[in-house]
Symmetry: C2
Subunit: 388 residues, 2 copies
């Protein structure tokens, strides 16, 4: 297998983007990444697009072809494929592009991630997100994602004495990081009291424990490592990639406080990279809810099982800590346009490893990890990147 | 790149399957293919699932994880990815699995294709299919797929003197082939008069020019050629694979009677296989409408541009002709569960190249081609298989 590098990154502002269409967002992120990479249209061998539910959010399936078309490449007939794995769709697109270069089939691949979630009204966003859960065994009976993650949180609190304050500290930290990210949906500090006293959503989770509904797009350009000299984009190498699945419904799991798919995907990525968790300098993890970040840092081996809450309390994961987590603001503060999230995580890690993360730059960052979850953990993707 | 073979195939009955769920259909096709291949669960390195719009048809996204789970493999945490490219979703899933083996990442991959289209009522199936067209520039203004292909047909008739009788002969031929396929939705002959006098849908297309709304699933097991000795499944080799894109909307095309994506995907596949169109012994092509089969045999180089209608009249594409097309009955008679179609085409070609196609067996078939289109031609995939 050939080595693969990220050589271009692009991001739209995340937020409620009423004045931009799905098509415009993809074109903006894609053209930024392509310009950043220095590749021309004729250099692009393939495109992969992650989108969770464009069919329900904007009434448009077939978005692989749409993105190639909106990017101005229809005359080049570039193979363009949409990939879906709920909120892990972006990382799955990245992984398919990565494999297609590692295989020798392609040299240069553009990856896009996109979701426009605010165009549907009322409860339709929540209902559409619930299509990532098991429709027959969960969603049909009325459970939505805040309810599923609330069950995980309750059990984690019961087994490991994790507290509501631990959860709140995740939100406070990620909002602090978000103040330093001009692309973030929310760029304001919140206090622990604000988090603890927020509107209840699904006990013990309040509004500040939940990532928002977001519009946004992200893109990266991947290139075979032996071709990076042909282009001007500053490269960051992908040194490990893992993917795993689990039961679609939460009740089928061995242990609901552990996302086994995260554990397995992490092990695959560490093994390929010849690294252990303590070698990672920073991580973007899937904090769709505050409890998810606590589970993630445990499942990825950064701390022992059950010690995630304590790790947050001890400031290990703050931007000045020994393992900064979600320097971008994470899904909580940067926003969570579900299909774009996995690609946006790679954009953040690449900025950090290039030394281009401005006020939130982690000094001497060399190895970064991105962790992206679909549903309540039925799909997980982990990628490890290294600065060059 | 390593060689890759199909070593197992599975299909459900196609039709209006009111008494089977999405989950049951995937499990049936998948378990048949796995049994046919002789692989065990622990041999499976990855799964890819093609589905066009499970989110709208059955309210369920995240069907990669669902299929791995429904197949009984949740404890194995197999990476499982859903791929979408409208009606070409199944072939895109196959291609991703193929690339992942060719790359050396995986040895054994299960591919599923699934759509359950009858569970939505009224015009919802047509509206959901229209999400494969350009929502902003086509569907929003009321055009649906019969209208788009009617425009292609009108132009083809205008430029090349193609007749309504030519279109009708495609339907008659494919219905005849369908009588020999026990998995087909319709297993009955129709006459040319029935086709010509059918209810008008979008002039010049009548009901017998249109493929039906279908529930069904298909699956195949792919294996690295250097590992086929480890399993009992009878292998058929994939010797060429191509994929291409075009404008999402029909009006943006250079020429609406030619699907440039088909031409490009075909050329890629022929080049890789070191073959020319005349080397192909049989083909399954994307006859979502009768005119689409006529365009396909031209775009794939089997006949000259404009001579597709004449080729049908001259019986070149009948089961006794020099190039049998759609021996399975095609989308018209076998049915068109959109995400399953591309995988079902591979099942038919594999049966023919194994000599297992019963009454519709093509004598001495050695090389078969499968051609699958998304939308009105914005995505196309061509795969060429060879018996071993």
């Amino acid at each position: 297998m050939r080595d693969v590098a990220v050589i271009g990154i692009g991001l739209t502002k995340f937020g409620e983007l009423w004045d931009q269409s799905f098509r415009q967002l993809t074109a903006e992120a894609g053209s930024k990444a392509i310009l950043d990479s220095g590749v021309g249209g004729k250099d692009i061998d393939a495109m992969y697009v992650g989108s969770m539910s464009s069919g329900r959010f904007v009434g448009q399936e077939h978005v692989g072809a749409l993105v190639a078309d909106a990017s101005g490449f229809s005359h080049l007939h570039i193979p363009s494929t949409r990939v879906e794995g709920a909120c892990a769709s972006g990382s799955l697109a990245l992984r398919e592009g990565y494999l297609s270069i590692a295989s020798g089939v392609n040299d240069v691949v553009v990856i896009g991630g996109i979701e426009k979630m605010n165009d549907v009204g009322g409860s339709a966003a929540t209902e559409t997100l619930a299509t990532a859960a098991d429709q027959e065994w969960e969603a049909f009976f009325g459970v939505t994602f805040p309810g599923l993650y609330a069950m995980i949180a309750k059990r984690h609190m019961h087994e490991f004495k994790t507290t509501r304050e631990d959860l709140a500290r995740v939100a406070v930290k990620n909002h602090h990081n978000g103040t330093m990210n001009p692309f973030a949906q929310y760029q304001k500090e919140i206090s622990i009291d604000t988090a603890l006293n927020a509107t209840p959503v699904a006990e013990p989770l309040g509004l500040m424990d939940c990532s928002p509904v977001t519009d946004g797009a992200a893109a990266v350009v991947l290139c075979a490592a032996d071709r990076i000299g042909d282009f001007s984009g500053k490269p960051v190498k992908i040194i490990g990639s893992g993917q795993a699945s689990d039961t679609l419904s939460l009740h089928g799991r061995r242990d609901i406080t552990t996302l086994d798919a995260s554990v397995h995907a992490g092990k695959m990525a560490y093994k390929q990279a010849h690294l252990k968790p303590s070698d990672i300098n920073l991580a973007e993890v899937h904090d769709c809810f505050t409890i998810a970040e606590i589970c993630a840092i445990e499942d990825l081996g950064f701390v022992k099982k059950g010690e995630g809450g304590k790790a947050v309390e001890n400031k290990i994961t703050t931007i000045d800590g020994s393992l900064p987590v979600n320097t971008s603001g994470g899904l909580k503060s940067k926003g969570h346009p579900v299909g774009a999230t996995g690609v946006a995580q790679i954009v953040e890690i690449t900025k950090q490893l290039r030394g281009e993360a401005d006020k939130r730059q982690i000094k001497d960052a060399r190895i970064g990890l991105a962790h992206n979850v679909g549903g309540s953990g039925a799909t997980c993707v982990v990628n490890i990147l290294e600065g060059m």
